[in-house]
Every structure is written in C-alpha cells, then in structure tokens.
Subunit: 347 residues, 2 copies
DNA sequence: TTGTACGCGTTATCAT
DNA sequence: ATGATAACGCGTACAA
C-alpha cells in the first residue's frame, strides 16, 4: 500500500530536458512565457506521460491561496433538502477547480464562532455560510476577513451577499394555481414561527387573493406548529368554518400531510372535495401521499450554485474592485401533482 | 476586507524571546524537547495571545500529509439520511484535527474514477467511500494507493475495510416486536431489488419466525418496487390472503406508508386491526403518519463515525503494522412508536 | 537548553 | 527562448 510515487515538476523538467521554470511557465500558460511551440508540446507530452499534477500543498504555500472553500453549515442532517445545497455548491466548486471543505456547526453562537476559527485556520479562500432554513443571522465576527456568501440566510445588517428563496412568489404561485381552478374560499394553514418564510408565504397568499379580487378573511388563516400534527389540527379548525373552504394552502408538506388526515376524517376526498397545495417539495412526502401532493419547490440546489459562483467572483478581487454586496432571491417553482382539482359547489 | 494579518511562528518566537525551534517543539509537544516549564508556559501564552495557529499549507508541505480526508459519496442528495453519515464522519474528523473534503460522485464507474483522481490530487491522507444505500461495489482503481474505508458498502473482493448496517438483526428485531405482541400471521412487504438489504431483511424475518416456531409461508411475502405505491399494492395483495395477517413488516418506511393507505381502504385500523413495522426511520414519514410508525433505524451516524475512526487508525501506519482489514456490521435499533398493538382475533 | 539552516514543491523575478 | 534562484512557513537535524 505504498503511496503513489509522487512525480514532481523537476521530474518533468529532467525528462523533457528543460528547466523547471520552463515547465512551470508552459503548464501554467503564463503570458510572458516565451518557449517554442516544439518545446511546449514536448513538455506537455512528458507531463501527461508521467502523470504529473502539481502538488497542491506546495502550490498553495507559494500562491498564498488554498483553493479551498469552506462550507459552514448548520445542522447538515436536519433537513432532507440540505444535501441539495451542498450538491449545488460542490458541483460549482469542482467546475472551478476548487475543493469544498465541510464544517458542520449548530445554531449556538459560540459553537459557530469556534467553527469559524477552525475554518479560517485551514486558510480557506472563502466561506459559504448556510443555514438550514431561511432566516436572518448575525454573521460571525471572524468572517469579516474572508469573502463570504450566505445561503438561505440574510445578514442582519445587510453587509454580506446572500441568496434566499422567493417565499412570497412561491406562495403566490401556489394560491394562484388554486384560483385558476376556480377556488375562491382558500384556507391557509400556516406556522407559528417568526421567520421570513412565515411572513413571505402569507404575503404571497394575500397577494394572489387580492389579484383575484377575493377579500382576505382572517378566519381562514390558522397557525400551528409546523409539523404534521399541527397541520392536522389547523386543517380541522379551518374546515369547520362556514362555508367550508374548497382548498387549502399549507405552510409546508408536513402540515399538508396532517391536512390529508383531517380531510379523511371529515370524509372529504382530495382533490374532489378539497384541493391542497403544500410547500417544500419534500419528495418522500409529496410523492408518497395519496393523491400525490402539488407543492412548491425550494431552490436549494440553485442557491448552492449561485452562492458558490458569487463567491468565486469575489475571490480574485480586493476592496476596490470587489463586486458590490448583492441580495438575491431565487424563484420557487410550483410542482404540479394530483392534489388540485376544479372547485365544485359544496354539497 | 484585508485578509487577517497572519501571525507566524517567528512572530511568536520573537515575542516570547526564544527561537522558532523552541516554539515548534513546545507547541508540538515533541518528546525530546527539553525546555523549562517556565519557557513552555511563556511560549504557550504568547501563542495564545497572538492567536497563532500553524499555517496548514506550510505544515502539510513539510510533513507530507495534508490532514485532509476525502469523502467520496455517491449522490449526496438522494437519500435524506445521507447527511447523517456525513455528520458522523465530520464530527469524528474534527475531533482528530482532520478536515473533511467533499466530493460528490455518481454510480457511473468512469465518473467515480475521475473523482478519485481529483481527490488524490488534493493529497488527501485517506478516503471514505460512501454509497447511499447498502451495496457491493468494486473499489475504484486509484484508491489502492491510499488508506480507504467503505461506508454502507462492501468491497467485492473483501480487500477493503467496511462498515454496513446489520440488516438481518434489524429485521429480526422488528418481527420479534410483532411476535412479542402476539402476532403469528405476519406479512412481509419487500422489494424487488437484488441488494444486501433485501436478502438481509428477509433473513431476519425468517429467523424471528423460526425462533417463535411459526412456519414460513411464502404467500405472506410479496415484493414490489420499494416506493409508496409498491407498498400499497403489496399490502393489498397480502391482506387478501386468508386468514388475513394481523401484522405487516415493511421493507422500508415508504412502503409502510403505502400499507397504511391499503389498510385504510380496506377499513382496517392501525394498529387495532393491523400492526405495521417499517424500516429506515425516515422521521418525516415515520412521525408524520397517523398513528406514528414503529420502525428500525439505520445507523448512519454511527457508520460515518466508525469509518472515520478506522481510517484514522490506519493513517500513521504502513504495510506491516497496518491494522487488518475489517468488516463491521452495526446494529439497527428498533424505534417504537404507535403502529404496533397486541394481536386480536380476526372478526 | 537553544539557535541556525535546510528542505518540502511550486511559482515568480531576474538574468542570460 | 530559457535557466538559476529566492521566496512561501514550518519542522527538525545538527551545531553550539
């Protein structure tokens, strides 16, 4: 199990009968390199033949950049979609020849500070800070010294670039879908947390109603904890109002799952008697429910990708020429499945 | 946004009025360092005060090891539990001062080979190769040159250490739980893939039946695709047999979700008329179902942790003194919820 | 007990 | 058109 015999730049130089300088110039395509085409070819060939690749540690030491990006993420494992942020960031990093190093942290501020320190000690060239649900954060102290982009989070002071989902537009699309199917009395099963998603989705709900000329009726909005059980309770409550809503927009797919149960208990068939739209597109739930759930997808992959691209754009630059801070909002597409039908008169 | 002014070992030396050698010796606790306790203290203090940490790039170059572990994982995002493997590996790495670098790959052999190359070029000290469901793999060529441990996968030739879940024992525990509640006629809703989980879970099912003196009845085992829909179909089929089973063991939680629907359609209440146990402990499903699902948890976190520990044990060693190849099987604990009740006579 | 100096593999500057 | 050589920051033989 001997470590692969490492072939260095001097091996290539010796083999190709040139100096290491020349090899370096040619392989790095430096503009001022003045070597004959014949030499270039020979050097490239021997490098390829020997399987030469530059030693990243030496390269980093010399260049004073590690070509590593730190991904600081809260509770990687908590949400099923977290992986898609990771994936988007990782693929984008790879395309740019960057390596992603991973640090998991928690919501505890002191933990986070400590983890930031650890990350900076690795001399990462930049940091992606991802929270696992959309919220406003105070960017850790230490990150002031390194290019940083926030994912699914916004800086309290707006000083750091960030990318978040367009909660309001996503919710509006969901409700519009119901309106387009003739629904007018649409309940909103929401949650009790004071987070951007709560406000954004409510705003979207109201916007679509307003667009359709349907007056807002606060008795149709009921909030519970954003779990299946909460969705069940909220749905029961709202379905008791009279006249009964013909459709429900739910804060997330888990609450929608609870709403399905409430509907079943009340003898209501989805979607014939009651249309339902969720949010999150947790596929295991959305596809597993019967009938499958129409919902709104969060752009996790795209956020990871955008953030990494943005970070890359910041890398070469310093102060003056750095791109301005940017706060981007990415669309949440509606995923149509089988839980929405044309509204019928209530029997 | 100037990069933090980097404090080096010479800064500490100057500040503490000693040589860099002394600083290095003291901070690295080298055995042959003979410095007065007073000096040690002073050096440590100034290092702390200056916020000194060794430059990893320089250190790596000198030591010829990067202190980075590559995690090569197939389709990070595919399964919700993938994150827990990651988490286990990452936490363990951090405890050892190691950094985890992440490469996502696919099941395509050529992609994998390419990604392995990329990883080795980063001079990682070791590699964790994780598949996202338990299966047998051919370890990529290039990994021969670097310490490697397999997670949730086994090497075809058994030459590489690996850790996998104890499918059979987990299934046996699930079925035993049903037996302990008085069930004798227990259906097994399984899947159609030829993977270790399929065989292991069937073996566990048979073992527990046999232990209870219940003859195996192949008409109670029905296989479909391992999705909710497949679970629904299989459950309908098996619940038609006569006498009807009083309990169902399902290959995974999604299939169990389908079984819930089948039960509802047949007017069977869970768990009063029908007990159900799943596998995987996908919390969103298991807790979201009503009643919540008793199931078996896969030890993802523990596998990530074990693998990293094992890898660390291999790191310092070479050929002779390397620990022997080991294939470990980790227990899958039963998670009791509300879907199992005492068997009743069938009305 | 401590300090000097070299080497790790690159890249960049300067000389030829 | 090409080559010698000085950094990059650290760890450690070896000299003192």
């Amino acid at each position: 199990m001997a470590r692969r015999k490492t072939v260095g730049i001097r091996d290539v130089a010796r083999e190709a009968q040139v100096s290491v300088t020349t090899v370096s110039h040619i392989l790095n395509n430096v503009s001022y390199a003045r070597a004959s085409e014949e030499t270039r070819q020979r050097v490239r060939d021997t490098a390829a033949r020997l399987g030469y690749g530059p030693n990243r540690m030496a390269r980093s030491l010399r260049l004073q950049r590690s070509e590593m990006i730190g991904l600081l993420s809260e509770d990687i494992a908590t949400t099923p979609h977290a992986g898609r942020i990771l994936l988007g960031a990782q693929e984008t990093a790879r395309e740019a020849g960057l390596t992603l190093v991973l640090i998991n942290t928690t919501q505890s501020a002191t933990d986070t500070e400590r983890d930031v320190e650890a990350l900076l000690r690795q001399q990462v060239d930049g940091v992606l800070y991802a929270t696992m649900y959309h919220r406003v954060v105070e960017v850790p102290e230490g990150l002031g010294s390194v290019p940083t982009v926030l994912i699914d989070a916004q800086d309290v002071r707006g000083k750091v670039s960030s990318v978040v989902p367009d909660e309001a537009a996503g919710a509006a699309a969901a409700v519009q879908e119901l309106i387009d199917h003739g629904h007018r009395r649409i309940g909103f099963i929401t949650n009790t947390d004071d987070v951007p998603a709560t406000h954004g989705r409510l705003a979207g709900y109201r916007a679509s109603l307003e667009g359709a000329g349907v007056p807002f009726d606060s008795s149709l909005v009921v909030a519970r904890v954003s779990e299946t059980e909460g969705g069940y309770e909220a749905a029961l409550a709202v379905l008791r109002s009279s006249p009964r809503p013909t459709a429900l927009f739910c804060y997330n797919d888990r609450m929608a799952m609870g709403a399905y149960r409430a509907a079943a208990e009340l003898g209501l068939r989805v979607p014939d008697d009651l249309s339902i739209v969720g949010f999150d597109n947790q596929e295991i739930v959305a596809e597993g429910l019967y009938p499958s759930l129409t919902t709104v997808a969060l752009p996790h992959y795209e956020m990871g990708r955008w953030a990494m691209k943005r970070l890359i754009a910041m890398l070469g630059t310093d102060g003056e020429d750095a791109p301005p801070v940017e706060h981007v909002v990415l669309p949440c597409p509606l995923i149509r499945r089988e839980s929405v039908a044309v509204a019928r008169a209530i029997g």
